[in-house]
Symmetry: C2
Subunit: 139 residues, 2 copies
């Protein structure tokens, strides 16, 4: 919990209970969470708009990143590689079609893609859908 406060301080953000709680929830959670899921976890203790603005602030500061799938937008904390000023922009996410959870896959680098001439790549975002180890009966 002190870690949460530190993270906020490091990014020049005032230490408020909404920010603390949102960041704590995202940190404790492995899977990416949607705005609505976070709102429910907070048990309506904060206004919808406040949570929305909190998430936006965190994204802007590089504390969390957006995760996209066909059902919408989710948020997850950036792992070690993103800490500090070296926020990297290549994310690999895995969405399990059975349990519905979306997770960041660490330790796997996305192989470089050879784009046609003239294209300049800035950020790469890879979403793989399939079955996660916990839901995979083939084990």
């Amino acid at each position: 919990m002190t870690k949460v406060k530190d993270t906020l301080r490091e990014h020049d953000l005032r230490n408020t209970s909404c920010r603390e709680d949102v960041l704590a929830i995202l940190t404790q959670n492995n899977a990416a969470l949607s705005h609505g899921e976070i709102e429910r976890e907070l048990d309506n203790r904060f206004d919808r708009v406040t949570i929305y603005r909190t998430l936006k602030t965190f994204v802007d500061k590089g504390i969390i990143h957006k995760v996209l799938d066909e059902e919408g937008l989710r948020y997850a904390v950036c792992k070690d590689q993103c800490s500090g000023s070296r926020h990297h922009h290549d994310h690999l996410h895995f969405k399990c079609t059975v349990c519905g959870l979306t997770n960041c896959i660490e330790n796997i680098t996305i192989p470089p893609i050879q784009l046609p001439a003239g294209y300049k790549s800035i950020e790469t975002n890879l979403l793989i859908q399939g079955v996660c180890p916990l839901c995979n009966s083939d084990n």
Copy 2:
């Protein structure tokens, strides 16, 4: 335009003016379009809900596919590789951060990703953001 009618017929869809027009717009357009953009192009000649249902039908039939970026959902027609029953699920999309257009990149296959043990991949979706040839002043 006959081609549009044929496509509908091939997929056991009745030939209605809304479907014709939506499919024609998507076919003529290189970039992926959002629901709202399609609605505007149709000049309010069809109900919002009808367009929504038309798009859903096309996605279900494999005529078009969803394209995701951080701004939301767009739709684009499936190219040759997707035709008929052999609808493939690996898509590479490029979103230009200058002009804002999102396009499918054809002829480039996504290199296979070695996932950790237990993960089973079904569908891969790659979004690369950057600058497209038309907006790239380095040429």
